[in-house]
Amino acid sequence: MPSALLSRPRYLRNVLCGLMVMAVGLLAVLSAEVRREMRLFQEEPVDSIHWNLTQLELDLVLLLSAAQLAQAQDDPPLDELRKRFDLFYSRTDLVRSGAMFERLDLEAAIRPLTARLDGFLRHATPLIDGSDASLRAALPALVEDVQALRMDLRSLSIRTVEQYATQADLRRAELARLLRQVAATSAALLLLLVALLGSVLYLNRQAERKTAEALRVSSRLQATVATALDGVIVAGLDGRVLDFNQAAERIFGFSRDEAIGQGLDRLIIPARHAAAHEAGMARMQETGNKRMVDGGRIQVTAIRKSGEEFPLEMSVTSNSGPDGMIFIAFMRDISEPVANERALLAARDKALAAEQAKTNFLAVMSHEMRTPLNGVIAAIEIVARKAVDPSQAKFIRLAQSSAKQLLRHVNDVLDISKVEAGHLALSDSPFELEPMLASLVDVLRPVAAKKATKIELDIGTGLPLVRGDSFRLGQIVQNLLSNAVKFTAGGKVVLKAVLHPQGAGMALLDLSVTDSGIGIAPEDLERIFEDFVMLDPSYGRTDAGTGLGLPISRRLTEAMGGQIGAESEPGKGSRFWLRLPMPTVERAAPPPAPAEPARTTARDGADDPVLDLLVVEDNATNRTVMEEMLRLLGHRAALAVDGREGVRKARAHRYDAILMDISMPVMDGITATGLIRAEGLSKDSRIIAVTAHTMPEELERFRGAGMDDCLTKPMSIRDLARTLAAVSAPSVPSPPALPEPADAVLDAPRIEELRQALGAEGMRRTVAQFLRDTTATMERLRSAASSPLEARALCHELAGAAAMVGALRLHRHFAGLEARLHDGDDNSVAAAQTDSDRLWADAAAALGGLTEA
C-alpha cells in the first residue's frame, strides 16, 4: 500500500476541510450580524425624522397663518385656529413623547426642542381652550409667540437633523464594514472551495490512474490464470470459490459460473473426505494452522461433476487479500500418469510372475522328468545285465549313457532353476575338506587316465573342520575338475586347496583347479560363466554337456558368498579358482549324541473313541502297514497317495486327525498341511507328521507349517496309539518318538507288533509288497549314483520302508546313507553299494523267512 502517496493529499484535504468549516462558521456569524443590520434598515422602527420635523414646522406655519388671519379680522371665527392648534399639538406629541427619538439615540439632541415646545404649549393651550373672548384678546401675543417659536423650531430642527445624519453615516459605515468582512470571508471560502475541488480532482485523477493500473494488472493476471495449463482455484477462508479458471473447468467439469460462490466441500471434495476438509478449515480458522498450505505438492482424491473420483496433484498457497485470507490452489489431474504407473507396475508384476512361473515350471518339470528317467535307466540296467547280443549291448550302452546324460542335464536345469527361484537351501553342517576333495579326485581319476592325464591333489594335512554345504561345494569342485579333465589330453590337472585363517572362527577357502589343456581364448573367458555357453560344440557332442556347469558353479558360489573366476592362456592351459569364506569348527568338540527320551507307557486304547482318520503316504507298503495298525486300534482310516489327494480328501470330509507323510511326490506334506489349514472341512483337524526326520529344527518346521504332532518312522503301534490318544485329549502333547537302538537284522518286537496288528495274512501281504517295492527302489538307487539328490530321496524312502516292516539293520544303513548324502558325501551310495546289496539281501531273506514260517 503506497500510503505516502495517499497520505499527503489526504492531510491537505483534512486541513482544507478544517479551514472551510472555520470559514463557514465565520460567515454564519457575519451573516447573522448583517441580517440584524439589514433588518434595522428593512423594519424602519421610526418614521422619517425629516418628514416629521418638516410637518411640525408646516403645522406651526399653518397655525401661525390661522392666528394671523384671525388677528386681521374684527370678529374672527376661531374654529380654524383651534383645529390648526390641535393638529400642531398632536404633532408636537411625537417630539415630546420622545419615543421616536429615543429609538434613534437622538434623545439628548431633541431635549432643547422638547423643552421649547413644552414651554409654548403650557402657555398657549389655556388660551386656545379658553373662551373666544379671551382668545381674541390674546391673539396678538399668540402670533408673536408662534413667530418666535417658528424661528427657534427651525434652528433646533436643523441641529437635530445634522445629528441624525452623522449617526446614519456611522451606521452605514458599520454596515459597509460588515459587508466587506462578509465579502472577504466569502472570497476566502470560495478560494478554499476551489482548493478543495482541486484536491478532490487530483485525488480523483490519481484514483482513476490507480484503478486503470489495477485493472491492467488484474486483467493480465486474469489472462494468465485463465490460460494456465494447471487448474487454478481461488477460495476464501470460508471455503467458497472466488475464482475458477478454464483448466479447472476442464478438470472438474464445472463451469466458472457454476463454481463461483460454491463451497469446495460440495464441489470437488469427495463426500467421504468432506468431514476431514471441514475439520481442517475449522482448525485453520481457529488456530491459523495451515497444514496443506505452502506444503509443496500433495496428492489427493478429488471428484468431478460427473461424480468420478480421480487422483489430483495440487499445491496451495495463501495470501491476505482485501477481504481477508484467500487460498490459491494449483491443480493437476494426474489420473493418467497414475493409471500409467499402475499399468507399468502391473506389467512388471506380471512379467515377474511369468518369470517366476517359468522358473517354477522348470523346477517342477525337471523334478517330474527325473522320475520316469530313473525308470528308464533302471530298465536299461536290467536289460543290460541280460543282454547277450554284442550289437544289442552296444546300443544298450549308448542308451544307458544317453539316459544318464539326460539325467545330468535335468539335474543341472533343476539346480539352476532352484537357485534362480531362491529355493536353494544350503545346508550348514561341519565336514572335513580333505576326504571330500580326495573322493572327487578319485572318481575322476579313471576318466583322466583314459586321456593319459594325471590328477594331483595338493592339499595340506591337519586342515580344520569347516561348516558349510559340502554337497554344493563338491558339486562346484567336481564341475571344475571334470571340465579340466575334459579339455586336457596327456597333461596334468592339479586341485589345490588352501585354508587361510581369517580369525574369530572364520577362514577363506582358496581353491584352484589348474590344467595343462587347450586353454580358453581371452574373449571367451568372460562368457564361460554365462548360461548355455559351450565354447567348442564339438566337445559338447562327444563329451556331452549342457554348458550349464560353470553357470551353476557361479550361482552356487555366489549363493554361498564366494567368488569364482578363471585365467587362461590358450594352448598352455587354464586355472579356475574359487574363494569361499567358511566358518571353522573346533575339532575337539564332537557333535552331541541325541539323548534317549523317556518313553511313556502305551495306554490301552480300548477306551479311546473311534476316530475318523486320513493317512497321506506315498509309499504303498507304509500305507498298508498304517492302515492295518489303525484298524487294529479300532479306528477308521481313509488313504491318500500324495499331498494333493490328501488335500482334496481333507477338504471334502472332516477327519479327526490326519497322518501326514512329509516327503511325497506331487505335493509334500508341509504344503498339503498349509492347504488343509487354509480351508475345507478338516481345516481344524489334528495333523500329525509321519517322518523319518528327527532333527529338532525339522520338527520345529513341521509345527510352523501347522502340524500338531509328530510320529517318527518306524513307529510302533504303541506310539501310534499314544499319539492318537492325544487327538481325543489334545492337551497332552507327545514327545516325538525315536527309533529304538538295536543292531539286529529284524526288530523282533516290531515284527511281533506287526503280526498282531496285521494278522498272518496281512503280514504276508505287507512283506510281499515291501519286497516288491524295495527291489524296484534298490534298482533306482543303483542308477541314481550320479544324482546325489535323487539318491538321497531314494535312501530316505528305503529307510522309511525298512523301518515300517521292522528291517532294522537295513533301515539304519539307508538312514546313515541319507545323512551322508545330506552332508554332501555324494559318493557314499556308490561306495556303499556292496553293503547295500548285502543288507538288502539279508533283510529280504529274513522277512521272507518270516512269512514262510
Binding site: E44, L87, Y89, A99
Partner: protein, 172 residues
C-alpha cells in the same frame, strides 16, 4: 375562511342596520351626530347623494375589533378598538380596487383594496377604551397590528398608518 365568515357577519349586521339597502340608493341612515368620516367613490350603500357620512353612532354599529400593539410614534403598548377597514368597505358595498385615505391636515395615501385584509388596517376610534381627540391623533387612526405581524413593520405600512383620518375615497 376566517375572512369569509367575518364578511358574512358584516353583511348580516349591515342588513340589520340598513334594511332597504338593496332597494334604494340612499340606503344608509342619515348621521345624527357630528360626521367624523366621509366615504365616497365606488360604494353602493350611501346616505347622502352617493356619499356615506358616518357619525360615531354609525361607526359603533359596525363590527367592532380591537388589538394591542406598540407603535413607533407612541410609548408602550396600547389597546386600539374600532372597525376593520375591510368590514367598513363590505358594509358600504365597496366595489373599487384602490382606496384613498385622507387626513384633517390633507395628508393622503392610496393603496390597493387587495392589501385590505382581516389583519388590518383597523379604523381605531378608541384608545384604551377612550375616544381619541384630534390632539391624540383622533378621531380615527388607521392602525395595523405591528407587534403581531412582522410584515407591517415596514416604511410603506408606516406611511399608510394615517391619523386624524376623516375622508375615504374608494376608487374603481
Amino acid at each position: 375562511m376566517n375572512s369569509l365568515r367575518r364578511s358574512g357577519a358584516a353583511l348580516m349586521v349591515a342588513a340589520a342596520l340598513f334594511p332597504a339597502a338593496a332597494a334604494r340608493a340612499d340606503s344608509l341612515p342619515a348621521p345624527q351626530g357630528e360626521v367624523i368620516l366621509t366615504v365616497s367613490g365606488a360604494i353602493t350603500n350611501t346616505n347622502d347623494d352617493g356619499v356615506a357620512r358616518l357619525d360615531m353612532a354609525l361607526l359603533d354599529g359596525l363590527p367592532r375589533n380591537s388589538f394591542a400593539t406598540s407603535t413607533i410614534w407612541t410609548e408602550g403598548v396600547d389597546t386600539y378598538e374600532g372597525v376593520l377597514l375591510t368590514d367598513l368597505l363590505d358594509a358600504l358595498g365597496a366595489t373599487g380596487t384602490n382606496v384613498l385615505a385622507k387626513a384633517l391636515n390633507d395628508y393622503e395615501i392610496t393603496f390597493p383594496v387587495a392589501d385590505v385584509t382581516d389583519e388590518g388596517p383597523l379604523l381605531a376610534y378608541r384608545t384604551n377604551g377612550k375616544p381619541m381627540s384630534i390632539r391624540e391623533k383622533g378621531p380615527i387612526w388607521m392602525i395595523f397590528p405591528y407587534d403581531d405581524v412582522e410584515a407591517f413593520r415596514t416604511e410603506q405600512t408606516y406611511a399608510r398608518s394615517i391619523w386624524q383620518l376623516d375622508r375615504i375615497v374608494v376608487k374603481p
